[in-house]
């Protein structure tokens, strides 16, 4: 038994570390993009089109990860693409978390008509295919960063709402909530000072997960050409381009895909690792 817990902790330690390292690189790349990217991400040079990465025959020095069909530097575009990804992850992730968690806590704690209304809304939301819903919202709201963030919040709040509601419901039955009632706490105070701290680990784990999901949704919208304007480099846009020239220039698809893969994986593993670390049962 002890043995098992030891290995969980060791594994979650490695996961936390590895994902934290990648996320730090990701944030640094986004913040320092104009200073660290070797080329202008938008500079086209048809003479330098479809250069392979540095270790493949036919490469040009200075273009480490090669160039796309318009001769734009893939590495610089990935570094600049991290900016959009980071903004979407932070803003859309946090806003989704706040909206969904607030509704979930209200539904789970106050019950009654508020719970019925919110739960019914969640049911209705769950009947929409999320990607289709997102694309539809962008079509209505128009493309652009604000629309993308808004669409993610409108679609994904249910993810928090469902889990936080269930967790709040569980916590509300605990003895300490009773004690708070006996001690004369108001309901709002009980919710904010007694229940919230106990639901918070769940919310934080969900939040990091949601940040990864937001990055994916943005990439999917970019992929179908419905996200940010096309002259802003995004990972999804690069992937869409790479998909069309996959047989001529695999690197245009591979490198942004790897960046997206690692970022999404790191967000998820970071959240899981945090939860395991703070979960009193596992600890």
């Amino acid at each position: 038994m002890l043995d098992g817990r030891g290995s969980i902790r060791r594994r979650s330690g490695a996961r936390l570390w590895l994902s934290a390292v990648w996320l730090t690189l990701f944030v640094l790349a986004a913040l320092l993009a104009p200073w660290i990217s070797p080329h202008d991400p938008l500079a086209q040079d048809l003479m330098l089109g479809r250069l392979p990465p540095a270790w493949v025959a036919g490469a040009e020095p200075g273009y480490w990860l090669g160039t796309d069909s318009l001769g734009r530097d893939v590495l610089s575009r990935i570094i600049h693409g991290a900016r959009i990804a980071l903004v979407v992850a932070l803003i859309a992730g946090t806003a989704t978390c706040l909206l969904g968690s607030a509704l979930g806590m209200v539904a789970g704690f106050y019950r009654g008509w508020a719970d019925r209304l919110i739960s019914r809304l969640v049911d209705i939301w769950m009947a929409f295919p999320p990607v289709l819903f997102a694309i539809l919202l962008i079509a209505v709201l128009g493309t652009g960063l604000t629309s993308v963030i808004l669409a993610i919040v409108i679609i994904d709040w249910t993810r928090f709402c469902r889990v936080v509601r269930a967790e709040t419901l569980n916590q509300s039955k605990m003895d300490y909530v009773h004690s708070a009632k006996v001690a004369g706490f108001t309901r709002l105070r009980t919710l904010a000072t007694e229940i919230l701290p106990n639901v918070l680990p769940t919310i934080i784990a969900l939040l990091t997960l949601e940040m990864g999901i937001a990055v994916i949704v943005e990439a999917i919208l970019s992929f179908v050409n419905l996200s940010i304007s096309t002259d802003q480099p995004t990972w999804g846009g690069m992937i869409a381009e790479g998909r069309t020239s996959i047989h001529q220039a695999w690197w245009v698809l591979v490198f942004p895909l790897v960046a997206l893969f690692l970022t999404v994986l790191s967000f998820a593993q970071f959240g899981d690792g945090l939860r395991e670390r703070f979960d009193p049962v596992l600890r």
């Binding site: 009947a127 962008i138 999917i220 996959i246 698809l253 895909l257």
Partner: protein
């Protein structure tokens, strides 16, 4: 009696949910900024064109009246006419539905096969390297969504080792003798294994991409319940009777731990169907999802509405079926 009452109340909530979906779709498209005419017409359309379209779609009436007209049409199965193809929405949508259903069911089968195998292997070799490896694979499978798996598979089986088709549903050069859109099912019935092989070669990657996240979920949850049941009395008894460990897992533990996994698979199946939208796009597979994205890009309003509502009906009925199956299989509810 309890079962009957539950069935009725579940049916009622399902209908309320579907009505809610209709309202949301209507509101999103009609009330949010701009108007549907602006979505339908190319820029630079004349005033007369706008007026004509407005009358045609009843948009000169109040929003409330518009909803009543639209909703009663929908109830009669009239989803209007597609703007981009000039064909009735219902027939367009029903034409594409079989392709998406075949893809989703194939993905579900793959997910259950992969997830189930991994769960049994992980239980059989619990506490060893094999289980640790399966845990890591589950973790990755859970974190990476279908879209990224699809892209990774394209690189792997489309470019690096090109053994599967990366685009379309069936090779265009094939003569299809089919009368329905259920190509895979019909090719099996007609014993046309040449066409079936071609269909499967096209379907393999999109189905696997959809299946991997679900396979990870199945593997994780089923392994958890299997590991609980392999130490219960009846498993121990089977072992003392001389059953092999694999047989104990398969014939004793598995039937007793399948119920929670089954419920979860049902719920997750709707997520899988939702995933077909982008996966079909990625693999140019001619299903509903691909048509939906085209409809949004062409601003084909009636078609978008029809597809979204059909998806919603599909989702709510899958959920309903899961709940009913669960109620039926669960002795506590059945005999209450």
């Amino acid at each position: 009696m309890m079962l009957l009452r539950q069935t009725v109340s579940r049916l009622v909530t399902t209908l309320i949910t579907l009505f809610g979906v209709a309202v949301i779709v209507f509101v999103v498209i009609r009330v949010v900024p701009g108007n549907p005419i602006a979505m339908m017409l190319p820029p630079g359309a004349s005033e007369a064109d706008i007026e004509r379209l407005k009358t045609l779609y009843g948009l000169d009436k109040s929003i409330f009246e518009q909803f009543i007209i639209w909703f009663s049409n929908v109830l009669h199965g009239d989803f209007g006419t597609s703007i981009s193809t000039r064909q009735p929405v219902l027939s367009l949508v029903l034409d594409r539905l079989p392709a998406t259903l075949e893809l989703s069911i194939m993905a579900l089968v793959m997910a259950v096969a992969i997830g189930g195998t991994l769960a049994v292997l992980g239980t059989r070799f619990r506490g060893r390297k094999t289980e640790a490896g399966i845990d890591v694979a589950n973790g990755i499978g859970l974190s990476i969504p279908d879209f990224l798996w699809g892209l990774a598979l394209i690189l792997l089986f489309g470019v690096l080792w090109p053994v599967f088709q990366i685009s379309g549903r069936v090779s265009p050069r094939l003569e299809l003798p089919f009368t329905s859109q259920f190509y895979l099912f019909e090719s099996l019935l007609r014993l046309r294994f040449d066409i079936m092989a071609d269909l499967l070669s096209h379907m393999f990657m999109p189905a696997l991409a959809l299946a991997l996240p679900l396979a990870a979920i199945i593997s994780q949850l089923l392994k958890l319940s299997l590991k609980e049941t392999v130490n219960l009395d009846y498993s121990v008894l089977a072992r003392t009777k001389g059953y092999s460990e694999t047989k104990v897992i398969l014939s004793e533990a598995l039937p007793n731990s399948i119920l929670p996994t089954l419920t979860l698979v049902g719920v997750q199946f709707t997520f899988l169907i939702g995933g077909t939208v982008i996966i079909e796009r990625l693999f140019s597979y001619e299903g509903l999802g691909n048509m939906a994205i085209d409809a949004v890009i062409n601003r084909d309003l009636p078609l978008i509405q029809g597809i979204v509502i059909l998806f919603a009906i599909l989702f709510t009925f899958v959920n309903l079926a899961v709940d009913m199956t669960y109620a039926f299989l669960n002795p506590k509810l059945r005999h209450a």
